[in-house]
Symmetry: none
Subunit: 154 residues, 2 copies
């Protein structure tokens, strides 16, 4: 007979199994902005949630860590999709040839004046082509740009 993994009273489970009530409350707290509760908050939440079943402070701590992280993860995936679309369509942003004349008006004398396309410095060498993103790359990720970034990091 299997140990009947009851989520409430059994201490034989290797990990916490939140009850539906606990999950409901945690999610509502999250929806209201709780993200990284401090120790005091964790204690409070734990004490209250223990009414609905076994729970420890670390479970609450981990729950918020994981929930937050996986929310961010989902968002990143959405963004990646969007970027993929943009890549295929070759720009949601104006194409703009980079050797276009940028006769930007100079507001009087800020710092950035020295960094625009002025001639205070010799023109930089053109980027080596092998470091540029291959145009057929379909899903640009962090890793797609690593060689390029390595080149810049010198």
């Amino acid at each position: 007979m299997s140990p009947a993994p009851s989520s409430r009273s059994s201490s034989s489970s290797s990990r916490w199994c939140p009850t539906p009530e606990q999950v409901m409350i945690l999610e509502e707290l999250y929806k209201r902005g709780v993200r990284t509760p401090n120790a005091s908050q964790i204690q409070k939440i734990t004490a209250h949630l223990s009414y609905y079943g076994n729970i420890q402070g670390k479970n609450v701590f981990y729950w918020f860590q994981n929930h937050k992280a996986r929310d961010r993860q989902k968002l990143r995936k959405k963004l990646a999709k969007i970027q993929q679309l943009q890549q295929q369509n070759y720009s949601l942003y104006p194409p703009l040839h980079h050797h276009h004349h940028h006769h930007h008006q100079t507001h009087f004398f800020p710092f950035h004046h020295y960094f625009s396309n002025s001639n205070y410095l010799p023109p930089p060498p053109p980027p080596p082509h092998e470091y540029l993103l291959p145009s057929h790359s379909q899903v640009p990720t962090y890793y797609t740009y690593l060689p390029f970034i390595n080149y810049l990091s010198l």
Copy 2:
């Protein structure tokens, strides 16, 4: 005559709109330690990033300024929170001054240790009974828990 900030034309946006590729590369450079690039570095970065879209040196300059500043800002807010907690005699972590001399090299110092059944914090007050779920409620919904959640949201 004012410049008429048309957002229509592809070449006259009032401010720089970084492409996802540009952001990704800038963030990676930041993560690798670039904080205040000098003029030469800015020129180099600008030249390379212009492959992915319109960009000027000042954009790179300001991007690092802003990113650095906002990182610090975030950290300051966190520190303020922590100091506030410490003033209330709450400590997220134990004193850990004489941090055991013999304790044979366990992994190191897992977070959750402090949230389990330890007594680093005073025990929380028992939950007020009026906020607890009546035990006979058979179909718990979101609304069943609202008072409880409101209490925790403090």
